[in-house]
């Protein structure tokens, strides 16, 4: 989304910002080192599934870190943010000590600041385009840590601001799925004055934020506060409802819904189709994480079971793989291993997650790929065969292609295997709406600028379009879709 340069300029020219810039010479600002995020000790935290690893900056730490920001004339950091947060404005409010205003600034464009401050890969986004990174070749301003600080401060202060919404325009729109794309969409649409209903298939709102990302990285209560905020703005949530199944699009249209945003996610786990993969004890990361996060399976108080392995192998190198392996460690695994076919450099996971995993004693078996599983007489996996890999020329993704080292097979004992090699788009909606254009991968095809699909009143975003991306990219899609759906409905009204 293009940022409004004029707005940024007006905000930057305000007296308080100008004065703050003068308060400290730039060379003093750049001389400071990046504040480190305080963390729970690895030996302590691996004993708890629900204790957050990062404990958050103090007010003083946040102000010091915020003072590193140079409040650039051309804030390139914003170019790296898919939801175009006015980063210098919120950072400078923190330096000023006005933490509540900082939080308000985040909420101008982001529906989930406390979430993004925790799970965004900032090193690939705002912090990658920070002046420090690009020009000074120094550690960037810790924008992610500051975002989390401001959102947490506001929540804990008990005086949450509810963003202003336009007067109701009486038009009903629906969001399908309740993950980050939908929530971001719903937040913007309700601000524009629409009557927004979010439909969720599961019994909890939040999508991947609830079933996927573990408590030690993103506590559910933090997601709940953001949901509560959206509800206060007027967003309606309906659980246990599958659009296309429980009711058709036609049914909903006859109930007054004028347009739809489909963000049903990449909810179809991929497997590798290797011998023995359907033995018991081999499951998708989606299944494992859903059991633990959504169903509380690790607690004896809850009915859903989960296998607590001693020798746990997690296949993959993404964030979901890290979440799974670290969960297994917390549930008592003696060996919790990552098995990844490329090397550490190519891992798609957030740098911080890999670092945390290493601290927690996760074993990394890189350049290794499973080729077969073996089981006991009851069909329970007890051994896996691994093949060594080496790296060749870069492939279409720009990462070096893994090549098999012939004759390098070896076996290791395992009693739980979690397959985290990616997901495919959920086929439910595309299969229910025949005229909807989908790609050969099953993703919904949209105009990249407007997120509009081949059916005019149907917009889509997040993993159902991207096929497996990040929370923040999904949120960016939600904002884009909201802006263009608003335009579409206004134009329709004129006709």
């Amino acid at each position: 989304m293009s940022t409004n340069k004029e707005y940024l300029q007006t905000e930057r020219d305000k007296e308080w910002r100008a004065e703050l810039r003068k308060k400290m010479p730039a060379k003093d600002r750049t001389a400071k080192v990046r504040t480190r995020m305080p963390e729970l000790d690895p030996f302590v935290r691996i004993q708890y599934q629900d204790r957050e690893v990062n404990t958050g900056l103090t007010g003083q730490q946040a102000q010091v870190e915020a003072s590193r920001c140079l409040d650039c004339i051309n804030p390139t950091c914003i170019d790296g943010c898919p939801v175009s947060i006015n980063i210098p404005k919120f950072v400078k409010y923190i330096e000023l000590g006005n933490f509540l205003e900082a939080a308000k600034t985040l909420k101008e464009t982001s529906a989930l600041p406390a979430v993004c401050g925790r799970v965004c890969p900032q090193e690939k986004q705002c912090e990658a385009t920070c002046f420090y990174t690009v020009k000074l070749k120094k550690d960037p301003v810790a924008i992610g840590h500051l975002e989390r600080f401001a959102a947490d401060y506001e929540r804990e202060s008990g005086s949450m601001s509810v963003p202003e919404v336009a007067p109701a325009n009486g038009k009903k729109v629906a969001a399908i799925g309740s993950g980050p794309a939908s929530l971001s969409f719903a937040g913007d649409m309700v601000k524009f004055g629409y009557d927004v209903t979010v439909f969720e298939a599961l019994h909890e709102i939040g999508g991947v934020l609830k079933y996927g990302i573990p408590e030690f990285r993103l506590p559910n209560k933090i997601v709940d506060v953001e949901l509560d905020n959206l509800q206060k703005m007027g967003v309606k949530f309906v659980r246990n409802f599958i659009v296309g199944k429980t009711a058709s699009f036609e049914d909903l249209k006859s109930e007054g819904f004028e347009a739809f945003f489909v963000a049903s996610g990449a909810g179809l786990p991929r497997f590798m189709n290797i011998p023995g993969e359907n033995y018991n004890g081999i499951l998708s990361s989606n299944e494992y994480l859903t059991r633990v996060n959504l169903m509380n399976a690790a607690s004896e108080q809850f009915d859903t079971p989960v296998i607590k392995g001693k020798n746990v192998a997690v296949i993959g190198g993404g964030n979901t793989a890290m979440d799974s392996v670290r969960t297994a460690k917390r549930l008592g695994a003696e060996r919790a291993m990552i098995i990844y076919r490329r090397s550490r450099e190519e891992m798609p996971a957030r740098v911080e997650e890999v670092h945390h995993a290493e601290e927690e004693g996760i074993e990394f078996m890189n350049l290794a790929n499973p080729i077969e599983y073996f089981a006991d007489e009851k069909g329970m996996v007890n051994r896996m065969r691994i093949q060594r890999m080496t790296l060749g020329e870069p492939d279409s993704s720009g990462r070096r292609r893994p090549i098999v080292l012939e004759g390098s097979e070896y076996d290791i004992p395992v009693d739980l295997v979690i397959v985290a090699v990616g997901v495919s788009p959920n086929p439910l909606i595309p299969s229910e709406v025949k005229e909807l254009k989908v790609s050969k991968w099953g993703t919904i095809e949209v105009n990249e600028e407007t997120m509009q699909s081949s059916i005019p009143e149907l917009f889509a975003g997040g993993d159902i379009v991207r096929g497996g991306a990040t929370v923040i990219l999904a949120m960016g899609d939600g904002r884009k879709a909201a802006a263009s759906m608003d335009q579409y409905l206004q134009e329709k009204m004129k006709k």
Binding site: L268, N273, T290, D303, P305
Partner: protein, 274 residues
């Protein structure tokens, strides 16, 4: 929504619930299932829909008391609410006019078979239904099945009702007697396996409806994966019905026991706390 309007005991361990679920009652088709969660601590469990009344806005669910979750559901009474109920899920049965249908139902599998039998009959087929169970007490929905069948054969393991013997004995008798165009089999995995082996011998196309372990029921978790014709498919979105002759039943039976150890522990805890 989700309130229990009626509860009919079929036996000490099997009950039919009539549940207020107007949306599902309207949109469900034969073969569809729901996922439900009884309470805040409950599991999400799949149950095939046994019938619906779109005017009253209710669906019928039949449950057999087995482990913790089915017992919690079984113990609910008229007026109680099921906390979460979502559906209809899965692909509907392909109903068409093909001639003679042989419908084999084992135990509580007769419940999901009822709407399928009804639909095949209404589509103009000759329908022969076989109801099989361990004993007379476990034969359910006989009158309802009779209403939509040209002939009903009862088989019990102990001979306490109908003919003594397994479902396959009855099925083979029919197949040898007259031309059967298609077979459906719903019941315990072992029963479906042997029915499938029998109809394969006679080259009769057969559909089996699977009741796999599931968490979400929407394709997300993959717990319900099943090998069909050498390909791994998901029972929740590709099924629950598949070409029985292509299903790897041995793998299915092993996979149904995937959490047996955990379930046994949970059941012991549950029983000792009640």
């Amino acid at each position: 929504m989700n309130q229990i309007i009626d509860k009919v005991l079929f036996s000490e361990k099997v009950a039919k619930f009539v549940v207020d679920a107007p949306r599902i009652a309207k949109s469900r088709k034969p073969g569809h299932f729901v996922i439900l969660r009884v309470d805040e601590k409950g599991e999400r469990i799949p149950l095939t829909i046994a019938g619906a009344d779109p005017v009253k806005g209710t669906i019928d669910l039949v449950v057999q008391k087995m482990g913790v979750s089915s017992t919690k559901l079984f113990d609910l009474n008229v007026g109680d609410f099921i906390l979460d109920l979502v559906g209809p899920l899965g692909k509907a049965t392909h109903i068409h006019n093909t001639g003679t249908i042989l419908a084999c139902g084992g135990g509580v599998g007769v419940a999901p078979m009822l709407p399928i039998v009804e639909a095949f009959k209404k589509a103009g087929n000759r329908v022969i239904s076989i109801l099989a169970a361990r004993n007379k007490e476990l034969i359910i929905l006989e009158d309802e099945i009779r209403k939509w069948s040209d002939e009903v054969i009862i088989m019990t393991d102990d001979g306490s009702y109908g003919t003594k013997g397994l479902v396959t004995t009855g099925a083979e008798m029919v197949i040898q007697r007259e031309k059967v165009n298609e077979c459906i089999a719903i019941g315990p995995a072992v029963m479906m396996k042997f029915t499938s082996l029998l109809t394969k011998k006679y080259e009769i196309p057969t559909q089996a409806s699977l009741n796999a372990i599931m968490v979400d029921g929407t394709g997300m978790c993959g717990a319900c994966r099943v090998s069909v014709g050498g390909r791994t498919l998901f029972t929740c979105i590709d099924g629950p019905e598949f070409d029985a002759h292509q299903i790897d039943f041995n793998e299915l039976i092993v996979r149904l026991g995937g959490y047996a150890a955990e379930e046994k522990l949970a059941n012991e805890r549950f029983l000792s706390s009640n």
